[in-house]
Every structure is written in structure tokens, then in C-alpha cells.
């Protein structure tokens, strides 16, 4: 049987003679080693190689939703998301090129044009992953027409609010609530451009029967979409540190 056409990078037999499960590959012309099963993103981060991410969060399952972590792989014509692509022996990965920069900027511009991301009056101004990415990736303007959707804020929860204007549909809230808290309060309704995060069966958050009020969703949200009520502009600083600790504690319990 032949190897499937996708992804088609050279496999060779150079794994022979290496410790079991250790692969070698090149990222940006650097020789790096990796454990079998690791993703390109994980290996890049271990080696301090920057790949931009937005939906990815260490400690949560990976989705490959935002496409900001797209990388080039020699021998593969399409771009692949680093967060969900496992490394292979002798893979040659390029994490930064004019083409990638162009695509990443375009993705950001599309995200910005889709909702109402008004940084200047946002609770997360100065502490926002989307804003930081835009600055870091050199997004100086948005060439697409803004859609200016009319989106409401759900402030029915006693302590938190969700402003759909700032939501990028990264689904971190959905994942952390399901995978870590175990409540699965959050989910997505509708498809494509009309997709929205919802609580329970699209009830107001304050009326949710499953929400435990743990605030994990708020802390992992990359933008000002989920925030603590009463925080003024630029005051919402998220604390995601709990996630790796929680993971370690749970692993130790097992």
C-alpha cells in the first residue's frame, strides 16, 4: 500500500537508529527533535520559535479554528495549522514567510471586520490577545468593509458579561467549560458568519442552570468578549495561569 497523498513530505527511513519515539525535523532551517505525537506548534514553542496563535491554549484540546498558526511544509502545497499538525520525521517547516505574513494579516483583518472590535473603549484594551497580535503581525489597517453587526451584550449574570461584539469564536470558553470545569455551559449556535457562543440552550447567562460561576471562561477569553462586570476600560486583565496548574494537579491525582 502506498502512503496517502496528503500530507506528502518525504518520510525516508532515517528514524532507524534513533531512540524510540524521537523524531528529527527542521523548523526554519533549524534542526530540532521532537517526541512522536507532538504538534508542530508544541515543538516550535519548546524551541522558542514564534508561531502566532489565537484559538490555541495550552491545556485545552486543539481546534485549528483561527488559522493564524498556519505554516508552510516542504512538499505540501497547502498551508497547515501548526496546532493540530503532528510532526513527522524529516519534515521541513517554515513558520515565517511573506506569504504566511500576508495570510495571517488577512485573517486578522477579517476577524476585525466581522464584529465591532473598538479597542479604545474595551475593557481589555492593552491586555487583549487579538490587539497584541494585530500589533505584532503589523496589521496597520483593515482593507475590508466592516460589517458592523448589531450585537447585544448579555449582562444578566451577576458577575460576568458577554459582549458578542468582541467575540472571535475561538471556542476557548466552550472548551474550558466542557473539558476542565465539566459544566459545558457554553456552546456555539448557528453557522458561519451568524455563529454565536451561547449559554445552555441559548438562555440568558444569568438564567443558566449549568453555569457554576467559576469564571474559567472569562479568564481564558482572548479578548474583551467575556469580562467581569464593573471593570472599566482597560482594567480587565485575564489570568490564565490556573490552567497548567490545574492540569498538573489532576495528572498527579491519577
Amino acid at each position: 500500500m502506498t502512503i496517502p497523498a496528503y500530507p506528502t513530505f518525504p518520510r525516508g527511513d532515517s528514524e532507524l537508529g534513533k531512540p524510540v519515539g524521537i523524531l528529527t525535523l527542521k523548523i526554519d532551517d533549524r534542526d530540532v527533535s521532537a517526541r512522536r505525537g507532538e504538534t508542530i506548534l508544541e515543538v516550535a514553542r519548546e524551541n522558542d520559535i514564534f508561531i502566532p496563535t489565537l484559538c490555541y491554549l495550552e491545556g485545552l484540546s486543539s481546534l485549528g479554528a483561527c488559522r493564524l498558526c498556519l505554516v508552510e511544509i516542504k512538499g505540501v502545497t497547502k498551508l497547515l495549522p501548526a496546532c493540530v499538525t503532528p510532526v513527522r520525521q524529516d519534515m521541513e517547516v517554515v513558520t515565517d514567510s511573506e506569504r504566511l505574513r500576508r495570510y495571517r494579516r488577512m485573517i486578522l483583518e477579517l476577524i476585525f471586520s466581522e464584529r465591532n472590535h473598538v479597542c479604545s473603549v474595551c475593557v481589555s484594551n492593552g491586555h487583549c490577545e487579538l490587539q497584541t497580535l494585530a500589533q505584532k503581525l503589523g496589521m496597520t489597517h483593515v482593507r475590508f468593509d466592516y460589517l458592523y453587526p448589531r450585537l447585544a451584550i448579555d449582562a444578566s449574570h451577576e458577575r460576568f458579561s458577554i459582549d458578542h461584539n468582541r467575540c472571535v469564536l475561538c471556542m476557548r470558553c466552550v472548551r474550558v467549560c466542557d473539558e476542565i470545569e465539566g459544566a459545558h455551559t457554553w456552546d456555539i449556535m448557528h453557522r458561519g458568519i451568524s455563529a454565536r457562543v451561547i449559554t445552555d440552550l441559548n438562555q440568558p447567562w444569568g438564567e443558566s442552570e449549568t453555569c457554576t460561576g467559576c469564571s474559567k471562561c472569562v479568564q481564558v477569553c482572548p479578548t474583551g468578549a467575556l469580562s467581569e462586570k464593573g471593570k472599566s476600560v482597560a482594567e480587565m486583565v485575564k489570568h490564565k495561569e490556573f490552567l497548567p496548574y490545574l492540569q498538573i494537579m489532576r495528572r498527579n491525582e491519577r
Partner: protein, 476 residues
């Protein structure tokens, strides 16, 4: 055959406006109007936003007086929360407003109006700007630029940022003042005071050159309104409203700003996006009143700081009652700068302002409605909000300083037109005076209609049959 003159855009003011002057068959002025031609819609698009975003959202109404908006907004939010703002925060907010007044008044007096005052109303328009002032009187220009800088530095020292900071929050402020920043501000004061006193001395000297302007720049009886303290002294951030008539008699006082709607009605004219508030008990348009620097100094019983009090007494000695000409606004601005510098000096000596605790009261929204009021550099500013039980805005009403003066600015334009325009030709000096009367009010048209755009000036001369006879235009 009559005709109409249109001045558009009006130059050296903040925002976008035009003036139309209608002439009768003999070429005499039959009507003049001041139009604010931009529309912004803040009151509407605030709806649905959380109350705690408002202080920053409304700052975007203006880049010159964002502080005033954030203060009025935060005070409206304080009322929604139902909290008592801690003493340190009250003082810090007052200090911040002083910075705003210094910066804004310096901009108005030196950058926008001093070219008229120094070079004359009839000077060559190409030199009639801050660069011309720099050439003719470098010290004056330098002082002006310095004073504006001091105002902006004061704002930065408190709020962390000169324009559109997010330091003022519902319930107080969100960061304490540091010793270093306090010392930095204190270090700026002596030179600023010297510059202000020098400008005051110079201005009092040149006042005599402007008898015609004093006599015609909105010089008519109206009511005046402003905030005063318990003892009747000038108040800029916290106080109650006092209204006086043209003779100086107190018409109403100790009005809690939250009762503003009982005293101020709002009317709308088809020729302007700026609403025309009026003093309700007198009806429209008889309830014409003025706010702003000269109005404040007319209304108050003193300033409460030593140098400003001396200057205030001299200011009030120019007329038996209130000073009716809006030309005196220039004068009043300098006195208010002095008052603010002295107030900063006094408050800075109070160790309480460095208290890192007690700068913010926390609460959830406890009331569905809140009204906040401060004196902005251009006059009394009201923010009135309603929220739902989750704290989301359902309704907003703002009366901005410039709006209060709308009726008076219109009458002022008419008065200047009648005095300086006759016949079919418009002289450059007359054109400039039409603008200068508006400039005396230092209106902020961006604020007043809560729009974007540059400020060009167009005067159209329109005949009685509606045909345009002459147009004078200046690039924006």
C-alpha cells in the same frame, strides 16, 4: 433685492459650523444664523452598552475636553451605583479637571483667539494665526504653548495619558497619585503662574482697543448659569447650580444638578444640529442664558483663591452688574487658568491626595438612573443616563456646554452682523468678526452635536428671492 451671506467653515474654532447672513433690499442685515452642521448621535449609540464603559465612550465626543465628559459621565455612574465617592478620589477628580481647564483655556486664548487680539481683527488673514503671533510677540506665543502643555502634563500625571485616558471610573479613580507625579506637577506651577499673570496684564492693556467688539460681541442681557460651592464661590467639578439675571440678581440657586430638567428645557431649530436649551421658567426663547468662563465669573461670589480673587474683583469692576459682553470670555479664561493653578497648588499641599486607599467605591448598579454635572471649560455639562437592571444603557441625554450658549451665539452673530456688515461687499475684517464672536464662546461643535470633519468657513450672501449673490469661503 436682498441677499444672504454664508460663512463656512468658521475658522479657528473646534468643530464644524457656518454662518448665514440675510440682507434686505437696502443691503441691511435682516437675519443672521449660526449653524452647527455636523451630526454625531452619541446619545443613541450608547444604548445597549454597559454603564461602566460610558466614561471612556463619551470621552470620544471630544479630543480637547475629554476629561470633562469623563467626569460628568462618572458622576452619572456614581449616582447609578449609589455610592459615595471617597474623599481622595473627589480631590483627584477636581485636580484633573483643573488640568483640563488650563489646557483648554490656553488653547482657546492663545492658539485660537490671540491672533485677533494681538494683530487686530482687520489684520492680514495669512498672518492671523499662532505663527503670526509667534512672529509679533514670541513671549506671548511661547507662554501660550507652555500653558497648554502644563494643562496636558497635569492630566498625564494624574490619568497616565494626555488625551482620552481611562482613569476616571464609576465610584472614583483607578490609580493613586504617586509622590513623583505630585512633585512633577508642583514644579510646573510657578512658571505657569508667571505666564498667566503676564498674559492677564497684557490683555487688560489691549482691552481698550476692542471697544467696538466689546459693545457688539453678544453684548445683551441674558441669564447666566454656573456651578458654585456652598459659599457661593466658583466651583468647577462639584457644586450646585446658580442662575442670575442680567442685573446680577439671583434667580435660582442651590439647585441640585440632578434636578436640571425642572430648570432647563430643550428646543430644536431646523437650521442647526445643535439643540437650543433654555431656562424653563421663562420659556422659549425668552429663557436665553449663557454659561462658560464669563458667565461663571458673573454667577459666583468669588473664586476662593487669593490671586484669582483679586483678578475677579477687577474683572467685575468693569461693569456695575454682570459683564454682559461675551468678549469678556477671553479675559475670564485667563482668570480661570490662574484659579486652577492656585487650586492645584492648594490641593497638592494636602497629604490626603496621596492616599492609595480610598480612591474608589465599588458597587453594582443600584439605581436605574443617574445624572452627572460638571463645569467644562466651555460651560456647564450634563450627562443623564438610564440603565436596565443589568447595568446596560437604555437611554442617554447630554447637554453640553456649547449647547447652553446656542441661543446666545445666534443672537451674538446677529448683533455683530448688524454692527459690521452693510452693503453687498463683505470686508475681510467683518468676516473675521463674524467668526470672532463665535470664537469668543470657544464653542466645541464636535461636542455640541456629540461629527467628524474639518472646520472650514463659508459665508453666503443670499438675496431676498433666495439667490446666492456672493460666497466667501475659507479652506478647512
Amino acid at each position: 433685492m436682498g441677499k444672504q451671506l454664508v460663512i463656512e467653515p468658521i475658522t479657528r474654532i473646534e468643530g464644524h459650523g457656518k454662518i448665514t447672513i440675510t440682507l434686505d433690499d437696502q443691503g441691511n442685515v435682516s437675519d443672521a444664523k449660526f449653524h452647527v452642521t455636523q451630526f454625531r448621535g452619541f446619545e443613541k449609540f450608547c444604548e445597549g452598552r454597559p454603564y461602566y464603559e460610558m466614561p471612556s465612550l463619551v470621552e470620544r465626543i471630544c479630543g480637547i475636553c475629554p476629561i470633562s465628559h469623563s467626569l460628568a459621565s462618572a458622576k452619572a455612574c456614581d449616582a447609578i451605583l449609589g455610592v459615595r465617592v471617597p474623599e481622595t478620589a473627589v480631590k483627584l477628580r477636581r485636580l484633573l479637571n483643573c488640568g483640563e481647564f488650563i489646557g483648554s483655556h490656553a488653547l482657546s486664548f492663545f492658539h485660537l483667539s490671540s491672533p485677533d487680539l494681538l494683530l487686530g481683527m482687520d489684520a492680514d488673514p495669512s498672518a492671523r494665526n499662532i505663527m503670526g503671533v509667534l512672529e509679533a510677540n514670541p513671549t506671548l506665543a511661547h507662554d501660550g504653548i507652555q500653558l497648554r502643555k502644563v494643562g496636558q502634563l497635569v492630566i498625564e500625571a494624574f490619568a497616565g495619558k494626555r488625551i482620552h485616558p481611562s482613569w476616571v471610573v464609576p465610584g472614583g479613580v483607578n490609580a493613586a497619585l504617586t509622590r513623583e507625579d505630585r512633585d512633577k506637577i508642583v514644579g510646573l506651577l510657578p512658571e505657569a503662574k508667571t505666564a498667566t499673570l503676564a498674559a492677564l496684564g497684557w490683555f487688560k492693556d489691549v482691552l481698550k482697543n476692542f471697544r467696538d467688539e466689546i459693545a457688539s460681541f453678544a453684548n445683551f442681557p441674558t441669564l447666566f448659569m454656573g456651578l458654585v460651592k456652598e459659599d457661593g464661590n466658583l466651583a468647577l467639578t462639584d457644586g450646585t447650580l446658580r442662575v442670575i439675571d442680567a442685573k446680577g440678581q439671583i434667580v435660582a440657586e442651590h439647585i441640585d444638578p440632578k434636578d436640571y430638567a425642572a430648570y432647563i428645557g430643550e428646543s430644536v431649530e431646523a437650521f442647526s444640529y445643535l439643540k437650543s436649551p433654555y431656562y424653563k421658567p421663562l420659556g422659549y426663547p425668552e429663557g436665553i442664558y449663557r454659561v462658560g468662563p464669563a458667565a461663571r465669573l458673573n454667577v459666583c461670589s468669588g473664586c476662593g483663591t487669593s490671586l484669582a480673587d483679586q483678578e475677579w474683583a477687577e474683572f467685575r469692576s468693569y461693569e456695575r452688574g454682570p459683564l454682559l459682553s461675551s468678549f469678556y470670555n477671553h479675559y475670564a479664561r485667563l482668570i480661570e487658568i490662574l484659579y486652577c493653578l492656585e487650586t492645584i497648588e492648594r490641593l497638592m499641599a494636602d497629604p490626603a491626595i496621596l492616599n492609595p486607599e480610598g480612591i474608589r467605591a465599588h458597587a453594582q448598579p443600584n439605581f436605574g438612573e443617574g445624572i452627572g454635572c460638571v463645569e467644562a471649560p466651555r460651560g456647564t455639562l450634563f450627562h443623564h443616563y438610564r440603565v436596565d437592571r443589568n447595568g446596560l444603557m437604555t437611554w442617554a441625554n447630554m447637554i453640553v456646554a456649547t449647547g447652553n450658549n446656542n441661543l446666545a451665539m445666534n443672537r451674538g452673530v446677529q448683533q455683530v452682523a448688524e454692527r459690521f456688515i452693510s452693503g453687498k461687499e463683505i470686508s475681510e475684517g467683518a468676516l473675521n468678526r463674524m467668526e470672532a464672536v463665535i470664537r469668543a464662546f470657544d464653542p466645541c461643535l464636535s461636542c455640541s452635536t456629540h461629527a467628524v470633519g474639518r472646520m472650514p468657513l463659508l459665508i453666503e450672501l443670499i438675496a431676498a428671492d433666495g439667490t446666492c449673490l456672493d460666497t466667501v469661503q475659507r479652506g478647512g
